[in-house]
């Protein structure tokens, strides 16, 4: 397993946001975590990347326990997290944002930037533009491109389709498929369950901090309860 989360419990003060969940992601998979607003999807990703801590259990990435590793050390180990709301550096240029994505790389940042530009030609056109002036879709591309700069083994995406027009959502998902084909393992968090399940191998359904279902994505797409709750009937 590339990533194994065992018995994760996360609290915000007195709020028990994640209640003992366990899940895993194998190399080469796209795994999705779906759930309603406030189910704890973002909290889960933040805990894996070290921004939050689990009170119990363990998080194993590439056979190492990363439960106490500070977030800035995980990038170099091959874990990239594209946070919810994109969080690009708005006052920096597109190129500077990408450079920040390669912050921990000793070599190869330049050639890697060309790869990212090949994947997102739009970013190349706008390389000198300040990120704050990009459209929402372009910012999402930048956030993903920035994460790719570290050449991650596992890429965690938190709601990449949020706030985007349908055509852009399709574009973003095409890119996710391309990345997957190129060998990147992906943990995808989405409210757009339809889209997420259509690209994923497996899915977990999160409800108020608990995993209530885990199955191959195809099965979840046909599951009556999932259909009713997340796929619009």
């Amino acid at each position: 397993m590339l990533l194994t989360v065992d018995n994760m419990n996360v609290y915000y003060g007195a709020i028990h946001a994640i209640k003992g969940i366990s899940f895993e992601v194998a190399e080469g998979e796209i795994v999705t975590l779906i759930g309603a607003n406030g189910a704890g999807k973002s909290t889960t990703l933040k805990t894996v990347s070290g921004l939050l801590r689990s009170k119990t259990g363990s998080i194993t990435f590439l056979d190492k326990d990363i439960g106490n590793v500070p977030p800035h050390k995980l990038v170099a180990q091959g874990l990239a997290h594209v946070p919810e709301g994109r969080r690009v550096f708005l006052q920096m240029t597109v190129e500077e944002n990408l450079e920040m994505g390669a912050y921990t790389r000793k070599t190869g940042a330049d050639s890697h930037m060309e790869k990212v530009y090949a994947l997102f030609p739009r970013l190349k056109e706008r390389r000198r533009q300040i990120a704050g002036t990009l459209s929402g879709g372009e910012q999402q591309m930048l956030a993903m491109g920035r994460a790719l700069m570290s050449d991650p083994k596992l890429m965690m995406l938190d709601e990449p389709s949020m706030g985007l027009a349908p055509i852009l959502v399709d574009q973003i998902f095409d890119i996710i498929k391309d990345l997957h084909k190129a060998g990147t393992t992906i943990l995808l968090v989405e409210q757009n369950a339809q889209m997420a399940l259509s690209v994923a191998d497996r899915g977990y359904v999160l409800e108020t901090g608990k995993i209530v279902k885990s199955a191959p994505a195809k099965d979840l797409l046909n599951d009556a309860a999932v259909k009713a709750a997340y796929l619009g009937g």
Binding site: L74, V75, A80, P83, F89, E96, M100, Y103
Partner: protein, 294 residues
């Protein structure tokens, strides 16, 4: 006309020193989102170090400045590590009160170590004044040095934050610490570096300030500290060009107010102008429209 120009030049000279100090406030604010009220007292420590290097140990003034920079850099990093880092998650009021505490600690520490009596900082910037306009206008060596140092510091910082990896990481941290961590940037190291740079600049500013106001006491840093803080707010706290603009304007306003109105009201006028500017533009002259903290 000559009087006007002389005052303008003196204002720019003083303002250059304020600008260098203001940079320390503004950089720390930009990244740690806190007002480091002890910054002025770091200036004082730098001045003492340089004073002893020159007067007691008869070292070259340049060596004295370098020593002061080293000591202040370490001091700034230690202050951050011991006093502010444990309060990273604390409410901003707690941080502010701590900073005031550090300020008193440094002043009292200086008094204990070096006594409270005046020390006369030796005049170390010697040389003939530049003569302009057939000798009517004189520009002292101090003025030239202040302005040149200020320009060099400005250019160096602009280069650093715009071109170097560490400098860009600082800008990333000042925008979004969480996202910066996800890039692999060590936020603690970056904050520590910011204090180091700001404090090194404080040492330089302290020595320059002494060449215009050579009486050294443990509270020497307070007034230029508060003025430079005002300058940073005036220009837009968090903004590097804002610190330069604010510093220069503050210096010029101060000298004009003293020259044309009254030396007794000088400081009152300076702060009155600040209040008016903040009423009209709450984020300062070059400040961005950002969330309020502190």
């Amino acid at each position: 006309m000559v009087i006007f120009l002389t005052r303008l030049i003196n204002g720019i000279s003083l303002g250059s020193v304020y600008a260098i100090i203001a940079l320390g406030y503004t950089m720390v604010y930009g990244i740690a989102k806190m007002l480091n009220f002890a910054h002025g007292d770091v200036i004082m420590v730098g001045a003492y170090v340089c004073f002893f290097a020159i007067s007691t140990y008869h070292l070259n003034p340049v060596v004295g400045v370098l020593l002061a920079m080293v000591v202040c850099t370490l001091l700034g990093m230690v202050i951050e590590r011991l006093a502010y880092k444990p309060l990273r998650q604390a409410p901003s009021l707690a941080v502010l009160i701590t900073a005031i505490g550090v300020s008193y600690f440094l002043q009292n520490g200086a008094q204990l170590l070096w006594g409270s009596n005046n020390k006369m900082f030796p005049a170390f910037l010697k040389g003939d004044a530049l003569q302009l306009m057939d000798g009517q206008l004189r520009v002292s060596v101090t003025t030239v040095v202040n302005v040149v140092v200020c320009v060099v510091v400005m250019l160096a910082l602009t280069w650093f934050t715009g071109q170097t990896k560490m400098g860009k990481a600082m800008r990333a941290c000042s925008e979004d610490k969480g996202a910066a961590q996800l890039m692999g940037i060590n936020v603690d190291t970056t904050i520590s570096m910011t204090f180091a740079i700001g404090s090194a600049l404080a040492a330089v500013a302290g020595v320059l300030y002494m060449s215009s106001y050579p009486i050294l006491v443990p509270t020497t840093g307070s007034m230029p500290g508060i003025k430079a803080f005002t300058a940073a707010v005036f220009g837009g706290i968090g903004s590097i060009p804002g610190a330069l603009l604010g510093g220069l304007l503050l210096g010029v306003i101060e000298i004009f107010a003293g020259g044309y109105i009254s030396t007794q009201l000088q400081n009152a006028i300076v702060f009155a102008v600040l209040i008016v500017v903040l009423l009209v533009r709450p984020t300062g002259l070059l400040g961005k429209q950002i969330r309020e903290k502190v």
